[in-house]
């Protein structure tokens, strides 16, 4: 199911808790699936003793992937034409992430209706962890 341009307006939002209490296991699952086995994300001993972090933290791409679900659940499968983010703050095991997507513009390009969307995912302290934009193809 996709969004329809006629039913959508600038300022419409969708907000959702994307992950509650992020586990180290989910970070390991992402490492395995994505192929990014950087021990910073999965190896506490390396992360603390060698890299000097308080512990392992999530791949930025995991947070981007988790945030992608908010978009595809809203705009429909296969409807994104663009999706980009900045990694603003690290995401740690135990974090709870909430995503919010807001329609910034509805426009037409070569007869195709498009929505430009602003995205922000925040942690349990209300701090943004990723911010970005996406564009989705709409039904008329």
């Amino acid at each position: 199911m996709a969004l329809s341009a006629s039913k959508l307006k600038v300022g419409d939002t969708k907000e959702e808790v994307l992950v509650d209490d992020l586990t180290r296991t989910q970070i390991v699952m992402y490492a395995g699936a994505s192929g990014d086995y950087n021990p910073l994300h999965t190896d506490d001993l390396f992360a603390t003793k060698v890299a000097g972090y308080p512990g392992v933290f999530a791949h930025g791409m995991l947070t981007m992937g988790i945030t992608g679900k908010l978009l595809t659940d809203w705009v429909g499968d296969g409807r994104l034409t663009k999706y980009g983010v900045r990694f603003v703050k690290q995401v740690w095991p135990g974090d709870t992430l909430t995503g919010k997507a807001t329609i910034k513009e509805i426009r037409s390009e070569d007869g195709v209706s498009l929505a430009d969307i602003e995205i922000v995912t925040t942690n349990q302290n209300g701090e943004p962890v990723v911010t970005g934009t996406a564009t989705a193809r709409l039904d008329p």
Partner: protein, 162 residues
């Protein structure tokens, strides 16, 4: 360098969708997917990044028979370099600053994507504590078997200098 090929396989897409916490059946159920607008199992929007699994000599994947910079008996499997600061943490200094994707169509199971990297921009910025941050873009275009562009991935990395 040999052309890099990324075969998009059903179990890989399923595992990737699970890892980002997305239970949408379009990522694993062929019967459900057949009834959707796309008509086939597709990959989640950030899946292109998983082409790393097929990148020869990808530095963030242990290489069989070679020392790995993660922990084993010691916090890192690499021998410390003499005379320098902690060279083993070099890899930890580069961070992923931004990631952008542009889609021509969804990536589908059965695609065999050909990766074409091209150079991006490099720029510098001072951070609040006066250190120089070096940003560099890495652009990869993913083409399908018929030569059509499917996805462009633009990744921005940042390195902290002294």
């Amino acid at each position: 360098m040999a052309e890099e090929r990324f075969p998009v396989e059903a179990s890989h897409v399923m595992m990737f969708a699970r890892s980002v916490g997305d239970a949408n059946p379009i990522y694993y159920d062929p019967d459900y997917a057949a009834g959707t607008e796309v008509g086939a199992i597709i990959a989640p929007p950030t899946f292109a990044q998983a082409s790393a699994q097929f990148t020869e000599n990808y530095p963030l994947r242990p290489k069989i028979g070679e020392p790995w910079f993660g922990s084993g008996r010691e916090p890192t499997g690499l021998k410390p370099k003499t005379g320098g600061d902690d060279a083993n943490s070099d890899r930890a200094k580069g961070l992923h600053a931004e990631q952008h994707f542009e889609y021509r169509r969804p990536v589908k199971v059965g695609d065999v994507l050909i990766l074409k990297p091209r150079p991006g921009r490099t720029w510098e910025k001072q951070n609040r504590s006066g250190h120089t941050l070096t940003f560099s873009e890495h652009i990869v275009e993913y083409f399908d078997q018929s030569g059509e562009l499917v996805v462009t991935a633009i990744s921005v990395g940042v390195q902290t200098g002294g």
